[in-house]
């Protein structure tokens, strides 16, 4: 700060930068405080127990959110169970099983998939996937858990693939020449060297994908049918917490209905925070480990 300090004084600029950084941090805090503030009535145990029940019948005074919670968890985990192995297959294809040209094309397509609006996926699924499921399985309207699982799996696939891809990139170049010089086929290299060495990265990809699947609103809202119930099969309709929030705000309900909305919001916020903490611990361990 010696020679040029008369041209532009560095102190105010630094303060502006620091303040705007802390504004960003304050946003996160204020979201939490708002949700917590609106959830105050939950401290009353009778209110709490009425929310923690399985029935959602707003006109009879039942405001249970447990079926939404189950719906969210069920949908997110099953779509990840579908997307993760497929994502792994795509990653192996990109890293040696497939020829270089098609591998680049596949990776590029995956990146392009991230730019498709969620609502467009939902829109096309409503007019292609739902009628297809209705015709093939001849059960219900087609707006079902299964439709949402398939739609959501497509939505989180790029997240999973790109995360796995970055993990593969840290290990595969190290062993590529060695494995080839030893006469290993690309699939052998991936199965026996790269995949065993990247367990932590896979966990991170799974957690991140699960977070996205839990947080998505439009796919379950448009495809899952939104009946607040426990599904008996994949052809039944379900309602997720995210869809619940969207639906309750749209239909003007009474006060306990609003409370259920903020309770769902708080649960989602906590889940996001937990997921982030988990990812951070994974990353921290990796830095210490190596």
């Amino acid at each position: 700060m010696s020679a040029g300090s008369h041209i532009s004084s560095p102190i105010p600029a630094r303060i502006v930068i620091a303040v705007s950084a802390w504004i960003s941090a304050a946003v996160v805090l204020s979201i939490f405080l708002f949700l917590a503030w609106f959830c105050r009535p939950l401290l009353d145990t009778t209110v709490l127990s009425s929310l923690l029940s399985w029935d959602w019948r707003p006109f009879q005074g039942d405001f249970g959110i447990l079926s939404m919670l189950t719906g969210s968890l069920l949908l997110a985990s099953s779509s990840m169970l579908l997307a993760f192995p497929v994502g792994m297959g795509i990653c192996c294809f990109v890293h040696g099983v497939g020829p270089p040209g098609p591998a680049r094309l596949v990776l590029w397509t995956i990146k392009l998939m991230t730019s498709v609006p969620t609502v467009v996926y939902g829109f096309v699924a409503v007019f292609v996937l739902v009628p297809l499921l209705r015709d093939v399985f001849r059960e219900g309207s087609g707006f079902s858990l299964l439709a949402a699982i398939l739609g959501l799996a497509v939505l989180v696939l790029p997240t999973v693939v790109l995360m796995l891809h970055s993990q593969f990139l840290t290990i595969e170049p190290q062993v590529r020449l060695t494995a080839a010089a030893l006469g290993m086929a690309p699939s052998q290299k991936l199965l026996h060297l790269v995949i065993p060495a990247s367990g932590r990265g896979f966990l991170a990809a799974a957690i991140l994908g699960l977070g996205r699947a839990l947080g998505d609103t439009m796919i379950p809202l448009m495809l899952a049918g939104n009946a607040a119930q426990l599904p008996g099969s994949v052809f039944d309709s379900i309602r997720t917490m995210t869809a619940h929030i969207a639906l309750v705000v749209a239909t003007d309900s009474r006060s306990l209905a609003y409370l259920s909305l903020f309770a769902c919001g708080l649960l989602l916020f906590m889940t996001t925070a937990l997921i982030n903490l988990g990812l951070r611990m994974l990353a921290g361990n990796r830095e210490n480990g190596s």
């Binding site: 020449l177 080839a180 030893l182 006469g183 290993m184 052998q188 026996h192 060297l193």
Partner: protein, 251 residues
Amino acid sequence: MTAAVSIKNLRVTFNGAAVLEDITCKTRCGELTVIVGRSGSGKSTLLRAVNRLNECFPGCSTTGVVRLSLHDGQLAVYADGTCPERLRGRVGMVFQSPNVLPLSIERNMLLPQRLVRGITGRAAEEIMRRMLRRVGLFDEVCDRMDAQAATLSGGQQQRLCLARALALEPEVLLLDEPTASVDYQSARRIEDLLLSLKDELSLLVVSHSLPQTRRLADRVLLIREGRLTGQWHRGQANADAAFEKMLSTTF
């Protein structure tokens, strides 16, 4: 005696730029051939052309003929029907810097045997012990076979890589400056090892050192700017003088 490796009109390009051009030469069984040249002259590329490892780099294209004579007959390296994986199982390679796999010492030795040759269990362990003894590593590591291979010293790692390559029982062994990143003691050990190996298999070694070349070579190939500009053989007339004359310009 038949030629172990015979190369004819070899040309290797990366993204259109020629790295090797018009290479034609032969090496014989039971000989140790040293490839010398300045850095960037293409000697590593020549080595990698023998086991088609250049194909692992983007933009590579190879023309010409490379033939190996193995105990069950001739193998045309670049023929359509030749599977690169099977080829590389019979042509071992050791790199300049030790490249142990991110596994334990034991798994480093056993995994390639299982995957490439399908040898498992007692038989594989027997080969592992024999090869580790061969490179003089067995006594140093026998009590910590489960340790990560990366915990060994540089010289030990390089000998492990050599043992790993030998465990596949190759008939040709390629070594790309095998002593460049180890200390003097380890380098001499590896050199002695190579001399003891040359009765069993054909060795091609890239070297960057004149004393090493003098100690090891039965045959020298001199590469300059992608072309073969000189050959020397221990049996030729006035061998010592020819050796000095050819290599004085290189080192």
